[in-house]
Symmetry: C5
Subunit: 362 residues, 5 copies
Amino acid sequence: MARLKKKILTSNRKRLSAKSHLPSESMVYVGEERTEKMVVKIINYDGNKLEELNVDDINTCKIYSEKDSITWISVTGIHEASKVEEICNLFNVHPLVQEDILNTQQRTKIEEFDNYLFVTFKNIFYSDINKSVETEQISIILGKNYLISFQETDSQLFNEIIRRLHTAKGSIRTKKADYLLYKIMDTAVDQYFVLIDKIGDLVEDIEEETMHYPDNHTSFKIQGIKKELMILSKHILPMREALNKLDSGNSELIEEKSINYFRDVYDHTYQAYDTIENHKSLLNDLMNIYFTTMSNRLNMVMKVLTIISTIFMPLSFLTGVFGMNFKYFPALNNPNGYYYFWGLTILVVLGMMVYFKRKKWF
Amino acid sequence: MARLKKKILTSNRKRLSAKSHLPSESMVYVGEERTEKMVVKIINYDGNKLEELNVDDINTCKIYSEKDSITWISVTGIHEASKVEEICNLFNVHPLVQEDILNTQQRTKIEEFDNYLFVTFKNIFYSDINKSVETEQISIILGKNYLISFQETDSQLFNEIIRRLHTAKGSIRTKKADYLLYKIMDTAVDQYFVLIDKIGDLVEDIEEETMHYPDNHTSFKIQGIKKELMILSKHILPMREALNKLDSGNSELIEEKSINYFRDVYDHTYQAYDTIENHKSLLNDLMNIYFTTMSNRLNMVMKVLTIISTIFMPLSFLTGVFGMNFKYFPALNNPNGYYYFWGLTILVVLGMMVYFKRKKWF
Amino acid sequence: MARLKKKILTSNRKRLSAKSHLPSESMVYVGEERTEKMVVKIINYDGNKLEELNVDDINTCKIYSEKDSITWISVTGIHEASKVEEICNLFNVHPLVQEDILNTQQRTKIEEFDNYLFVTFKNIFYSDINKSVETEQISIILGKNYLISFQETDSQLFNEIIRRLHTAKGSIRTKKADYLLYKIMDTAVDQYFVLIDKIGDLVEDIEEETMHYPDNHTSFKIQGIKKELMILSKHILPMREALNKLDSGNSELIEEKSINYFRDVYDHTYQAYDTIENHKSLLNDLMNIYFTTMSNRLNMVMKVLTIISTIFMPLSFLTGVFGMNFKYFPALNNPNGYYYFWGLTILVVLGMMVYFKRKKWF
Amino acid sequence: MARLKKKILTSNRKRLSAKSHLPSESMVYVGEERTEKMVVKIINYDGNKLEELNVDDINTCKIYSEKDSITWISVTGIHEASKVEEICNLFNVHPLVQEDILNTQQRTKIEEFDNYLFVTFKNIFYSDINKSVETEQISIILGKNYLISFQETDSQLFNEIIRRLHTAKGSIRTKKADYLLYKIMDTAVDQYFVLIDKIGDLVEDIEEETMHYPDNHTSFKIQGIKKELMILSKHILPMREALNKLDSGNSELIEEKSINYFRDVYDHTYQAYDTIENHKSLLNDLMNIYFTTMSNRLNMVMKVLTIISTIFMPLSFLTGVFGMNFKYFPALNNPNGYYYFWGLTILVVLGMMVYFKRKKWF
Amino acid sequence: MARLKKKILTSNRKRLSAKSHLPSESMVYVGEERTEKMVVKIINYDGNKLEELNVDDINTCKIYSEKDSITWISVTGIHEASKVEEICNLFNVHPLVQEDILNTQQRTKIEEFDNYLFVTFKNIFYSDINKSVETEQISIILGKNYLISFQETDSQLFNEIIRRLHTAKGSIRTKKADYLLYKIMDTAVDQYFVLIDKIGDLVEDIEEETMHYPDNHTSFKIQGIKKELMILSKHILPMREALNKLDSGNSELIEEKSINYFRDVYDHTYQAYDTIENHKSLLNDLMNIYFTTMSNRLNMVMKVLTIISTIFMPLSFLTGVFGMNFKYFPALNNPNGYYYFWGLTILVVLGMMVYFKRKKWF
């Protein structure tokens, strides 16, 4: 989980001024260096048949997209800027959108253009291979009968959807391209819940720790989880905003009867955000409890010190008195002086104990 | 009360990613395992007569719903997903709504569709049987002349309403289905007040405790109550939002003269929310008071320590002086030295006392 | 003032679930038990004449209300639910409004119906008789030519208005019923200012105390005043909201030229709310100052302890050294050893003093 | 500056319930007692000529105001309520506006009426005569060709504007009455900046103090400045709101081409408010720094105490050991015992020092 | 970075009341004294050709601006108020706009006038020459075919744009004047990212420091960075607002197809603001962690003190006992007394250790 935080924060920071001296229209890939080959896959389907092929010649995409059946052009790897540009130009995608696709630190958004809808968001998932949380940017161009998706890595996000397209399970094959967009976004939001669950476990653990065995690092851990929640909500909040706009909007590319589906995704982001906010508020409360506990411990330590001092200081004074070397010192010569001393000592101790008992110190 | 918190938090968490790898259209029950048989009851009534029957054949529902009189189809137990699906399909309920009915961790909402209104909310109640707070999801489909309710358990929520339908007390029998919906929601909101009252008692107790006998666990308790309030407000807030939308809305299924009734429920949720917010703000203030009290106690402890040390340290020094073994030590040989010593001691003690008195330390 | 808090909080809490098992349409009085007889008074007036009479036969109200002159039906005491119901039915008041009138813990609101406007708010006043702050609910039905007011007790709120109606002072007699409503609400808001003034005095006193002689109870007192402000603002805020809606609204019962008057009351509630918010913010700052003062005191106490310890611990060590009983102990036999000891002692004390002086400890 | 705070808070408080038992239409002056004579001055001007005269007969105002040239009726001193009422009635000013003019604790606002615009705001300025900050209420009635201004004292606010009218400097003489209103408000807002600058100096001083030589009164001072900012923002915020409404509004009395000027004043109030908010936020941060510094000091004091105690307590124990009077005490008879003792002492001291060094305590 | 803060805060403060006694229409330069000569440069271009010339005769500007090709009039240095006024009058710029151009402490804003759009914002950049962060105000008048820019110093902001105009790289030469405005604003916003990156580095450093080696100055540093973020967000926030208004607006000077470009700048300011807010929230959390760490250290110090005191006080008492000089003191004469003493000592130490171990103190 720590890696998630690290990665996002760092990569984000690196970006900020990366492009600042470049002419803004030249297409440049802004992201981690990658060496894998870029793969362009076409999935063309309707209720009756499905065709899946990898293409090298970009123009094939155009041909397929003009068919009546639904065409999904899935581009994996976006570090070959020129190739991405080529595809985008084929579909008359605005230069600024191309820039957004190539810049992997884009803020989640949904923008409508004359002939297409542009959607970009983050896929945050737990990679079983790397045993770590990974983030990749998904950008989608939704046209009339086609959908072009750009993803950074060969993540598992689309696998399940493709499988269901093949098996024609559910109604996905009989629906339009907007339904495909819905499936993709829904799958991504479901991934968020997996992470929120993991963080939820951490919150429960730290609650246990704060309540019962807090130590000096507890506050660090609480802040750490808070930071992770902050990162997640940074991606979920703009997604919710974007979906909300889509809901009320009258986009021609989203059919009216599909609006319900996107509203459903919106509900999920809402719920995700709610859960995150609740976790945050719980963590703030835990921080307060932690402070209280620490302060109570200090109180306890101080009480021990005070009790010890208050008992032994008078006694030490007493021993000091009888340790003085005055020539003329009546008490010392008294044969019972020694016993008187112990009597006095016991009296002092008892007196103190009664005092502390009354003050409810122990 | 503690059980309420536990249960909701846990079940909620379990859910979050439960469905994440399932095709989103397949109907699955998401909730606790249950073994009771699902019961479908039909109550058909108008001003003159009332018919109540349990049905096995789902199609009976359809027949009744097409009558002019009001038909209430009450489904108890929703863990038999296929049966719920069957009923829903009979009334052309949207697949996503079916999903929401089956998912018992749904956020409270009111959604309007072409021929029906979908309402889902939580019934939170104190179960006399289990001696604990329980939560169940109520989902309602409001059609033209019919109302279908889905509830998880055989809770008491509907009992009073059914009883009144039978006795025809009040105007319930002469009103439309939307009035029945109002009665159900009003009853649920009234349940919230019972819980808010219980929490209100806890707040009063903890206020007493914080003011007069705070201990190390007081802050834990304050946070605990705050958490419970958070959970309650989590259910009430979306209910208020939903009712507000209904109020302003121009739904065809809610007659204009019924709007006043829903506005009344809205007012109640508003009041419930206000009370919760006031409790929360009071608890925050109590937390502050607790901190102050603890800090005052520390001050007091430190004062005791300082007074003791300040009095006895100089005295111990004095005894130390007269305990030294110098060969040539004039004071020791003075026959009144011993009395001088006590004089000095008394002077020091008195001086210190004057000092502390002036500083207003006691 | 403390009584105000107590009363409102308690009565409010008692209510919350009081009605939860009652059929919602049956009219029940929810409030404190009262034994006084309910009084119905009719004041009928126009620019020329004024008639004032107490009525026993409710139907007289109806007759008067149909006159062209303004009729004010003032109902004192609402614990006789059936009688209130009777009056309301006479004027076709909606059952839910009747319920609101009888429920003395209603939230302040203004609701418009077809033929009348329903206003309910709290009258908070200092009772000279009981020497305490009292709260009562005022509910008003404003019709075309009539105004029906319901109040819990025979408070002084209406006395001044009635007196002015008699003396025809100001323009009250020549105006419509909506102006009468304005006068009533204006008088109630003026009462709020009296209380805000009283609390303002408390704020000034506690500011003085916090700054110059804070003790352990100061924080309790600050929180106490804050709680009272919270209660006041709980009543003022919804009043402001309601008046704001009235201002923008196009009610047929409020003539356009009367809108200015209600806007004036709105301005007053705004100012009242502003003042309360300022007091609150001041109290929060005082809480901070209190914490600082307490923390400074702790610092001071700790410094005294540290100075004392730092001076006497080395000295005690010295006396200890010269109190050792070694057979061979050169220093002890030195005839000037005793004086050397005192020299050393003075050096240590001076050194410590220079050190503390440099650290600016005193 | 302290006087500013005092004055406003006090006078404000006195007011709140001052009028509460008066019939609301009777015109009463609510403010400090004043004895100066009220002065009514008429300035009538257009591009070509300017006439300035003091009038005793109020009716002269009416005659001038009906001319085509611009007439400014400047009323200084508003404690003669009857005279203010007389003027207002001459121009058909609404009774509630008259009340607002006479009540010197009015909230800043701009209200539009059929034939005139009513503006009231506070002039806060540093009086060179009284060497203190003073507040006075300015009320303005803007009609078609005339402007009536009411001010409490003979402040310098209008002097510069009158001088420029005389010298015909700038375009003021060629513009309409709405431009005159703009000049007056602009001048008042400029006064705010003078005060904000003064407070800005205080903020800088207290920042210096908090960072480098905080003492027990620093927190009091920080809160004091915060309170003054609160008061200023209390006057600026409603002014901004009012100007904003004016900007968007379509008042007939403000010509469209004059809107730019009022937008400019609006920008200034915006900037004033921004600066105040920044100061506030800075003061909050300073409060935090102050707490930290105090807490660091406590830490430091405690470290000194702990180091001293940790070093001398074991040593005192050692001296105690060798001061025991056991008959049989081998060490004491050892001729090198004394030197062994010092060796042990040095070891303990060195050990402690290494320990503290490692813990980075000094 | 510290210099940035200093400069902005100071210059801002100096301004506030600088103009307060000046007639508001007279044009005055409000800013730092400058001695460089003001330079007016004209760049006239279209798709085919580009002409660049410095002009002395202001009227040349007018001639160029009336051409069909795009004319960029770049004014460097605005301290010669009369010259700025001259240019502005040539283009009929409103007097208040002229004032805004000359006042270098203007709030960022975009204002639309009949024939032109007025934009003013801050260019914040790191000067390689002065090795410090500098701020200058850029004001822009966007007309039909022309753009007039005013900048305080000869900063590098425009250099890259001019170079690209010359090389005709990208589409800049073929676009209208509104695209030029976009390029200028985009370049300025990119500069912000450079600074945000620098501050991001500081945040990372201070996070490291707070977590691992906080000292007394850590809190000062955290507050320092927070202050810098506050200043940056002070400039970015109004820019975002202004761009947002532009986006939704229907300005005639911004062609519809250019809106996308400004929306892109808007997205960047949004992202900049998000990053700043995240940094701020992180710094607040660091402050909390710092407090916790400091408080934990205090706890630790107190524990050491308490452990030392609790062990040695009883022991010192013991030595005191055996140091007493009673004539009759059985223990002292016991030949094994000395060993008994050490036995007791070891018992006390072990007992204490077990006690502290159980309390988990070390």
